[in-house]
């Protein structure tokens, strides 16, 4: 009897996942965005080093973990760090200052973080990323942060000039900070896998526009939707994303092939007014 009890205890322990503390140092960096047509403009991003990189960092934890953040502001201006859907407050970041925040992560999903100083100024300039709270399981995982930029706005905003928010007309459309010709080099974004794999894609719209992602070849099941939870478990081939909305999409490919995923606001399949470009990638299923 005692032998069986020990055995059961071991089995139960084996199935338990242990909550841990996951630490990241997140830098808010001003920098220069290099667009697909080689034009540049001022921008901001949250990175894992103190050097500007146009790809905002993905902060990954497991469900139940606590996320310990050290927030470093490398800018000479003040900023405010905020997460959405995590149940914690804002953190004020003084110029060149450092702060910390601990965030419990009890729920599975994707949650935005962003700079809300003079909102939505710095979101428009690029400073918004995602916290991914994963579930245990055998998944192939990919991360898409889609957004857009209006070059002259970034230039005006960086000079402290006003912009007319309802005249927004962006011309650069990116996934993880990159347009079509560069996306294939991003292994965290380009979906690869085999027939029968369970593929999970963590998606966030960090821009101001609405994006509408269309899958060729497969339907995706919405496993999590932050701002429209009524869509959970819907099976869709075209998934809209409002500003700062997030979703976890699950695709289980039933056939091999190369299938595009792209924004079906087809204006977003351009970059600097040039087609093809923008939010377009190819899924590769063996």
């Amino acid at each position: 009897m005692k032998k069986y009890s020990i055995l059961i205890l071991f089995i139960l322990l084996g199935q338990m996942t242990f909550a841990t503390r996951v630490s990241y140092t997140l830098y808010l960096n001003p920098g220069t965005f290099l667009a697909v047509d080689s034009l540049t403009f001022p921008a901001y991003a949250f990175n894992l080093t103190g050097t500007y990189n146009r790809t905002n960092a993905v902060l990954k934890v497991m469900k139940g973990d606590t996320l310990d953040l050290i927030l470093v502001n490398t800018d000479t201006l003040p900023h405010i760090f905020e997460t959405r859907g995590m149940g914690v407050g804002q953190v004020t970041l003084p110029p060149l200052g450092t702060q910390s925040q601990s965030i419990p992560c009890p729920d599975f999903g994707v949650f935005p973080y962003l700079d809300v100083q003079d909102f939505p100024k710095y979101q428009a300039m690029g400073a918004a990323g995602m916290i991914v709270v994963r579930e245990a399981g055998n998944f192939k995982e990919f991360y898409w942060n889609v957004r857009e930029y209006q070059k002259d706005w970034n230039e005006d905003l960086s000079l402290g000039l006003p912009v007319v928010w309802n005249e927004y007309y962006p011309t650069y459309f990116t996934l993880n900070g990159q347009g079509k010709p560069d996306i294939p080099g991003d292994a965290t974004a380009v979906v690869t896998g085999n027939v029968g794999d369970t593929i999970r894609i963590y998606v966030m719209n960090s821009g101001l526009s609405v994006h509408s992602l269309h899958f060729h070849g497969y339907h995706a099941t919405i496993k999590f939707a932050l701002s429209d939870p009524e869509k959970t478990n819907w099976s869709k081939d075209t998934v809209p994303f409002k500003t700062l909305s997030t979703k976890v999409l699950e695709v289980i490919p039933d056939k091999p092939g190369m299938y595009p995923v792209h924004d079906h606001n087809l204006i977003a399949v351009t970059g600097g007014g040039i087609y093809p470009n923008g939010i377009f990638m190819m899924m590769q299923i063996q």
Binding site: V210, H216, D237, T238, L266
Partner: protein, 412 residues
Amino acid sequence: MKAKLILLTLIFVLGGLIPTRAQNIVTHKLTAWTTGTHTLWDGNQVEYWGFGKGFLKPPSFPGPTLYANEGDSIIIMLRNQSQGAPHTMHWHGMDVNQANDGVPQTSFVFTHMMDSTYNFRAPHAGTYLYHCHVATVVHVQMGMYGNFVVRPADGSQRAWTNGPPFHQEKVWLMSEFDKSWHDNPPKHNQLDSLYENFHIPKYEPDYFMVNGLSHQQLPDSGTSIYAQAYMNIYVRLSNIGFLLNRIHFPPALNAQVISSDGRPLPNALIQDTLMIAPGERYGVMLHPTTEFLDSVQVSYLDMNTLVPRDTEWVRVDIKGFVGLNSPIEPEVILFPNPGNGSFSLSWQGLPPGQGQVECFDLHGRKMQTFTRNFAHAGTDYFEISDLTPGIYLIKIRVAGKEICKKMLVEGR
């Protein structure tokens, strides 16, 4: 025990030999053109590119709605008459294999005077789109799109196989035109290259359409809802434009959103406002319980600012009650008219039963007869090949009722 085992084995073996459903083969013939002319609500004419139903049949805008039943084998036969522009057809949402996906880089294109064929199986009953995927932003804006409706396997008037039944069905395809693109297409010459980068102008749409029509063009087009209280009216909504659609149903329609992108929703939504992003489709079941006259508002919102650019009003006229002697006369709408010989009929108030739709020329010669089962209300599609331009009479006869409509067939 042994007898039960033998019986089960027999059922299993014989069950495997009996086909669950005879396989249908559905063939659609289409022709791609870059020479269409469409009349806008203000009388302006705009050039468009599009698909005609039938070999060498002139294009319609939007393209013809194609139909099949779930599980059908579909053959699409295409001819390109585009004077240089290559095209493809992408079966949006139908999850076809790579070879039939219509993406130039991974599938195939068809060039001028070339015939091509797509083959695939009709997926889940639902609402889908097709569109050209060559230089997509341009070819879609120029009008190369249409709806594909997959009905349940038995062809019944249900939202999906064993899904909720409906009396009447409407297919609404929303899109916009930026006329400046049509007056001077960003990519429209005989040297069109598939993979060349090219500049596109700022998108500033000035015409906002439901099924290619706006404003005063809508009421008599077959898009309007003419129905009776206690009918189930199933509206298939698709957005192929580059703006966000906001659909507002009058509360008296008791709108229920029941499907999206060709799949039933796990949780039907009871709501009278629905947002539809580019590429999305929704199925909405309407169930009025009273007589009224109103409109469905279709608004077109900027994707960047959510500022409404336009609102179109689709008429809703609920008269009479299902199951009672109807106070209204049977009503039949024929569209498009003028057309190219292929047409749709939308009707209500007809006595249910088998009936005939006959086409006569002005000399009284019968050109073609169709036999159909008519529900009290519904919509159906009819295709007549090789009609020369002119005036024809379409006679609908069902259960002692006879209605005649005039149809103008235009030359290309």
